[in-house]
């Protein structure tokens, strides 16, 4: 805990802001589940960045025995084309994270902008925007993504676009809801009474105040995006072979599950772990950014007021 006990006058208050983030961090890592999630995510990022270097074999290197059971040489066994499943799972992390990052990035930017505009402007614009979001939201996400991919053609890029579009309403709703309450705060009126323009008010004064729910939503959406990508790949409309992707590998292993269970199990486990890691980190972030939780921790011997 960064002690602010001695804050008042003898300590430069400049690093207070940083210490807020440090405090969030310390709350986050004190949550055992979240810490576990962070470790898993750290390993995933390493795998995604250095997959080829770490993997014992190439993703598409063939020439091994077909359907070899897990062994020391091939910890996760080999698949129907004699490729090392362990290497493919490792390298496949990149696909998953890439899809997660790009699609969540799309929905984050689009959803946040839409939510800010709808929440701040209100009135008919709000109604039109949010009703369109409701229409998008009414479709099951996977179905919507399939529809978009069906129009654009199956590829990893289109899968990312599809997931991004499908997730946009979630962000738009979260952001709009928060903006609606922040918009009514006195400081918004005060800033307006100082002559600030709407754009300035929204970007500089409202957006930072709705950051916490956006951060949490980002983390949770990552998990769903990866899951959706796996589902799309499984259905054959996402990542195309021979690119190593967990959903695709799961699908390839499905038909031979009684012959080579390892082909499906390990990519499935990878999806499970990743999604769970993002979820527990998201939950942890939600707690850490919750002002009520914070104040409990702040009250543990911290002078708030100077």
């Amino acid at each position: 805990m960064s002690a602010t006990e001695a804050t008042a006058d003898d300590r430069p208050v400049v690093d207070e802001h940083r210490s807020q983030w440090r405090q969030t961090w310390s709350i986050l890592v004190s949550n055992r589940m979240a810490l576990f999630g962070l470790v898993v995510l750290g390993l995933l990022v390493v795998a995604a960045l250095l997959g080829e270097l770490l993997a014992p074999h190439g993703a598409n290197a063939q020439g091994f025995e077909f359907y070899a059971a897990p062994s020391l040489d091939h910890p996760f066994g080999t698949d129907n084309l004699g490729r090392d499943v362990f290497s493919r799972v490792l390298i496949g992390a990149r696909t998953s994270l890439q899809v997660g990052a790009v699609s969540v990035g799309i929905s984050l930017v689009a959803g946040t902008l839409l939510g800010l505009v709808a929440g701040y402007r209100g009135g008919w614009l709000d109604a039109v925007l949010m009703r369109s979001m409701d229409v998008l939201f009414a479709f099951p996400i996977v179905l919507l993504a399939i529809a978009i991919v069906a129009v654009l053609g199956p590829s990893i890029t289109n899968a990312m676009i599809a997931i991004g579009v499908a997730f946009t309403p979630i962000f738009a709703r979260v952001v709009r809801g928060s903006v609606l309450s922040v918009r009514e705060e006195v400081f918004v009126r005060a800033v307006r009474s100082l002559g600030a323009s709407d754009v300035r008010i929204v970007l500089r004064h409202i957006l930072p105040n709705v950051a916490a729910p956006i951060i949490v939503q980002t983390s949770l959406s990552f998990a769903f995006a990866i899951l959706t990508e796996a589902a799309l790949s499984f259905l054959g409309v996402g990542v195309q072979p021979p690119t190593p992707a967990w959903g695709l590998m799961l699908q390839e292993g499905r038909g031979v599950i009684d012959l080579a269970w390892w082909m499906g199990l390990f990519p499935g486990l990878a999806i499970f772990l990743t999604v769970m890691a993002f979820n527990v980190v998201g939950d942890g972030l939600r707690d850490a950014l919750d002002p009520k939780q914070r104040s409990i921790i702040e009250s543990r011997g911290q002078g708030v007021d100077a």
Partner: protein, 360 residues
Amino acid sequence: MSDPVLSVRDLHVRFGSKRGVAHVVRGVSYDLHAGETLALVGESGSGKSVSTLALTKLIPMPPGRIDGEVHFGGRELVAMSEAELRSIRGNDIGFVFQDPMTSLNPVHPIGRQLTEGMRHHLGLSASAARDRAVELLSLVGIPDAANRLDAYPHQFSGGMRQRVVIAIGLSCEPKVLIADEATTALDVTTQAQIVDLVERLQEELGLAVVWITHDLGVVAGIADRVMVMYAGEIVEEADVDDLYGSPRHPYTVGLLGSLPVLGADEPGELTTIHGLPPDPTAMPPGCAFHPRCEFRDDDRCRDEHPPLRDADDAGDGHRVRSFYEVPADVREAASTSSQVAEAPPNAGDPLPAEASEGDR
């Protein structure tokens, strides 16, 4: 007297609501001169805040609608575009809002919030604005100002925050400062300090202040002139001494009569104004106060709207919106009971009529 800095003529504010059009400000007119303090008093919902927010169109529109004229520095503000108004807000007309806990943005250090207006309106560089921010904070009495610029609002106490808010309101040296319940949320000691501060700044900067409050004690301590608002109109307007010494409107008489008397020989029962203010979506055609009025002689005021007229044998500019004269002895009783006029500015109590807020 010199030309007024701010001149409001027949200002109306209406809000469209599900229950019909709420006419919350109904023909308010006044002049504000440099260096003058005008107090706007009235209970919650009397339109005092809205009437000042409407000056620079700070109310949401729609559903709000503003009619009338607001003259400031040779320009008319009601017809002005949003972009032009932005150059006036903060720059020429500054606001200080009621709640110091919520009128600062929690995510920005106060220095950033303080310099924002100056950089925008005065075109100051970051370092020049910072220098001036330090000056301003010292001016409003924040010790160690240079080191406090990077502190966040939550690191300040309520009184200190309100000083920061006032510093922000003053940052661009406006000609008019509108203090909307600027001391209501503060304890009385801090209140007195803030009142003193504003008075001092007024002398130093020649600022005209509109002080919105329901605290008649503060009014007595700070105002030159007082306007009493009821149901969106000015019902009485007078110099502060005239108003306390010789209240003319039945509502004002009721307000002053309902204040506790400091140092009274025997603490009597406080008088109250029975009834509730009218529904703004269904104003009575006559006098808005007539259902609660104790001094009406006939039914004239039920159907006929009384104009704001000069009060009989009263001081200059003492105007009242009533057909009737409150008997001199009742006036006398109300004014003597309001020793609050001589009491320190923080000794008064909020209007008892404020209690009706919860019913509405």
